[in-house]
Symmetry: C2
Subunit: 259 residues, 2 copies
Amino acid sequence: MNTPLSHANSRVKEARKLSRRSVRTERRLFLADGPKAVEGALTVPDCVVEVFATVTAAEQYADLLDAAPQVWLVEDRAMELLSDSVTPAGVVAVCRFLDVTLDEVLATSPQLVTVCADVRDPGNAGTVIRTSDAAGAGAVVLAGHSVDPYNPKTVRASVGSLFHLPVILADDPAAAVQALQAAGLTVLAADGAGEVDLFDAELAPATAWLFGNEAWGLPDELAALADHRVSIPIHGCAESLNLATAAAICLYASARAHR
Amino acid sequence: MNTPLSHANSRVKEARKLSRRSVRTERRLFLADGPKAVEGALTVPDCVVEVFATVTAAEQYADLLDAAPQVWLVEDRAMELLSDSVTPAGVVAVCRFLDVTLDEVLATSPQLVTVCADVRDPGNAGTVIRTSDAAGAGAVVLAGHSVDPYNPKTVRASVGSLFHLPVILADDPAAAVQALQAAGLTVLAADGAGEVDLFDAELAPATAWLFGNEAWGLPDELAALADHRVSIPIHGCAESLNLATAAAICLYASARAHR
């Protein structure tokens, strides 16, 4: 093992730059923070470039780090620079981007796909990826002006599912909807004003769920492209549900119908 | 209308103290921040003591404030002290505590009740209150060492539902479970290791859902008191779901069965 690298070490400083989206996009690299994320990254062939670990964490997670191609010991202060957490767990991996194309995913005939248009909160995006994985979805499409899936908060909130579920970046949400329909999936837009009640919806066919932005929902013209607009029945004085909650309810309604 | 009060005004300073739990508990008062929360509070008879508003907000929300018993104009800097938001909307109400007893709620024969044991994150608690309301629950019980429902973050995340749905504070989760059972409700513990699959669970009877802490779930001895322990089927590599997501899935499974 190397002498622990300081916060001023050039390797540490280069890795730290990956906290910026522009640098991530240019290098197609991102940071996976914490043992859970590093473990997930190590399950993906050729994903991990290198791992930084404090001396304490390198002992604690020795088995995990055995599988890493390259491990650098770092000082605590260097770890604080690399980690997005208030209390860093002590291991951070530099990972290669994982996103695939929609065509690649459609070739696998997924029965359930999540499409987020303009999801902006990193934590929400990560939670939707985690929930999609749990519900048995085959992919998540982040469309339009959505948050970067490689944002450290998104990676953390996905709790490893980012490394398991194919994630697709799609600039044009309308084109993504049309490609999913052309592949035989029924596209259902989650829409508070939708004409179909979730509990009455026909969920047995292969389905892509389309979710809108946290604050303003789906643009009308995008919702209109879906095969149906589906509303979750709302009681009480609640006017709506938050994005991650609504997505969980819709995706698990599909999971039930698919069983 | 009064001359806008400054941040040094004693009324403003007294209200600001309600950001501390100890002061809230002693005075049985809390702050509702933003037009949505203030609107919810004003629907509850005798809930609102007074409202603070910036000059701009008092114009913008004039109709809303007409219903308030007492409105104080404040300077922007005073509003920054009263509001928990990074960008205050400009209206904050001082409200009386709303919690009721479990006996009062059980007298209304609720068909769906949410029980959280040791929920610690204020945002999660608020989201669970909002989702419970949306799913048609008759009450939320915050049991054990749960977060204060009058925490500003909880109030905000409940998006008005705190003012609509009865909230019960119960020191002893086991006693709450037993009281719910004695009133004829089936208590279902949401438990990743549960013996009943959610999609097979008998959800038609009046049901209380029991959820545990975000990190460590339900203590075994509490889960054992429930009539059944129910697991949400998890696919992919996700090992679990977050609390708010899991609660949404369980509560909406009940809402479907009750329809």
